[in-house]
């Protein structure tokens, strides 16, 4: 929080040099306030898009990770193929493909929001799968054996014994993915999603002050992500405290 204050002060001072024109987002003027509100209104979709996408990608990632841990070769091959293919496609390309390509292929037309969610979730699911696989593999064999010794079946073993422990361990990595997702959601602006970046683009086009507007955009992401990071850290601490 301190670094944001310093950065903001620096930028305000820099505004005195004449190259800056902060009037465009100055909340003390009616026009500036409207512009600022316009920019902030993108926050809703940035958050909604990212949170929806990561919720789906976590589930998808887990569903892809489990076959990767199977003793059967075919299942493991499915996991490897999925991860390798999905990981190789750039997110922006995936967004364009889902929005423009998928309707032509399947006849299913997704609106901008769901196309964005699907592309982000697909792309992230490959990484989630790898994170889950690592987390689950880090749980000792003794835990599986103890679960067997009380006759738990595979589903209950995963649900009550392995995953709760694995998720605790991968929480920092999941937090990273959420931050990554918040940033990558800016790419969905290219298909017209009215999130932070798109709002900034539109305002910049009408106001001709890209420097100030994109600086505000940078600060918006910065604050958003710092808040999310703090939240994730608190969650980690709480989970550790519960076990101590």
């Amino acid at each position: 929080m301190k670094c944001i204050a310093i950065l903001a002060t620096f930028l305000l001072l820099a505004g005195c040099s004449g190259n800056w024109g902060w009037y465009v987002v100055d909340p003390t003027t009616p026009k500036g306030l409207i512009n600022l509100k316009f920019m902030l209104s993108g926050m809703y979709y940035t958050i909604l898009l990212s949170v929806t996408a990561i919720s789906i990608s976590v589930v998808l990632g887990l569903l892809v990770a489990l076959p990767g841990l199977s003793e059967k070769k075919g299942w493991r091959r499915f996991n490897r193929t999925y991860v390798e293919i999905v990981r190789a496609v750039p997110i922006l390309v995936l967004i364009l493909w889902v929005y423009y390509g998928l309707p032509a292929l399947s006849g299913i037309t997704l609106n901008v929001f769901w196309a964005g969610v699907l592309a982000l979730a697909l792309s992230d699911s490959a990484f989630q799968a790898e994170i889950f696989r690592g987390g689950i593999q880090s749980i000792s064999r003794g835990q599986y054996e103890a679960a067997k010794s009380v006759s738990l079946n595979y589903r209950d073993t995963m649900r009550f014994v392995i995953l709760p422990q694995a998720i605790r361990r991968i929480l920092p990595a999941l937090g990273n993915q959420l931050v990554y997702m918040l940033k990558m959601s800016s790419l969905v602006s290219v298909i017209g999603m009215q999130e932070l970046t798109r709002k900034a683009n539109e305002l910049s086009v009408s106001e001709y002050r890209p420097l100030e507007i994109y600086t505000v955009l940078v600060l918006e992401y910065l604050v958003l992500i710092l808040v999310v990071s703090a939240f994730v850290r608190r969650l980690e601490r709480r989970m550790q405290a519960a076990e101590a």
């Binding site: 000792s140 003794g142 835990q143 054996e145 103890a146 067997k148 010794s149 009380v150 006759s151 738990l152 079946n153 209950d156 009550f160 014994v161 709760p164 422990q165 605790r168 076990e243 101590a244």
Partner: protein, 253 residues
């Protein structure tokens, strides 16, 4: 009216020519073993002799390559249905306790009864408390495993196995990971359990416990059962040189 067929005393565990390999290394060499209902068996032997492998084959934590294992009337095959049936009849206590670290003591005990035996929460809690009292730590029910000493953790693990009310209990070196001052509290609980008529197979080096509790003493070396018999007999007059040497080594100190 008088259908008096003599009661067949079928062994509750029957192993015939059981062999097990790890790569080229043969961990079990055609092992034959019978355990009858209520029998208390102690298995000892040098490390690497296959004693842990032997009991881990009984509940299929390890798969045997050849031979037959029959537990509680069920033939152990590759079919997972047989694994489930057998595991329902066999509980296990591990060297490293293997408690579930993210669950409280009570939750550790009730997970199996609730999910597998279908007990209600209250029934499972009641049963858990009964067995926690039996291992003498009812006051630790709401703690997490890592808040307990090693001896307490192992007693929780014993209570967890008891909660499933299975016929047979396997102990895989239950005191080997414990500090010396905690061994007694765990052995006490096990001794008490033995007097309740439970079928127990215990892999251990605690010869005092074996002498006091065991009906049958088994000595293994290099994947084979070298000596079997009542403790009085095998301790005082070991038939094999290998067992005599082993006894001398571990009783020296």
């Amino acid at each position: 009216m008088t259908n008096t067929a003599a009661p067949m005393i079928e062994p509750v565990i029957k192993m015939r020519d059981v062999s097990k390999f790890y790569g080229d290394f043969q961990a079990l060499k055609s092992v034959n073993l019978d355990v009858s209902q209520g029998e208390r068996m102690v298995i000892c032997g040098p490390s690497g002799s296959g004693k842990s492998t032997l009991i881990r084959c009984i509940n299929r934590l390890e798969a045997h390559e050849s031979g037959q294992i029959n537990v509680n009337g069920v033939e152990l095959t590759d079919d997972s249905e047989s694994h489930d049936k057998i595991r329902g009849a066999v509980g296990m206590v591990f060297q490293q306790f293997n408690l579930f670290p993210h669950l409280t003591v009570l939750q550790n005990l009730t997970l199996g009864p609730r999910r597998v035996l279908g007990l209600s929460d209250t029934e499972a809690d009641e049963r858990a408390m009964t067995y926690l009292e039996r291992v003498r730590i009812p006051d630790q029910a709401d703690k997490y495993p890592r808040q307990l000493s090693g001896g307490q953790q192992q007693r929780v693990a014993i209570a967890r196995a008891l909660c499933m009310e299975s016929k047979i209990l396997l102990f895989d070196e239950p005191t080997s990971a414990l500090d010396p001052e905690m061994i007694a509290e765990v052995l006490d609980v096990m001794t008490e359990l033995a007097s309740s008529g439970m079928t127990m197979i215990v892999v251990t080096h605690e010869m005092g416990f074996a002498r006091k509790v065991a009906d049958t003493m088994v000595f293994m070396d290099q994947g084979e059962i070298v000596e079997v018999g009542p403790p009085d007999q095998v301790f005082t007059a070991p038939k094999s040189q290998r067992f005599a040497t082993f006894l001398k080594q571990i009783l020296q100190h």
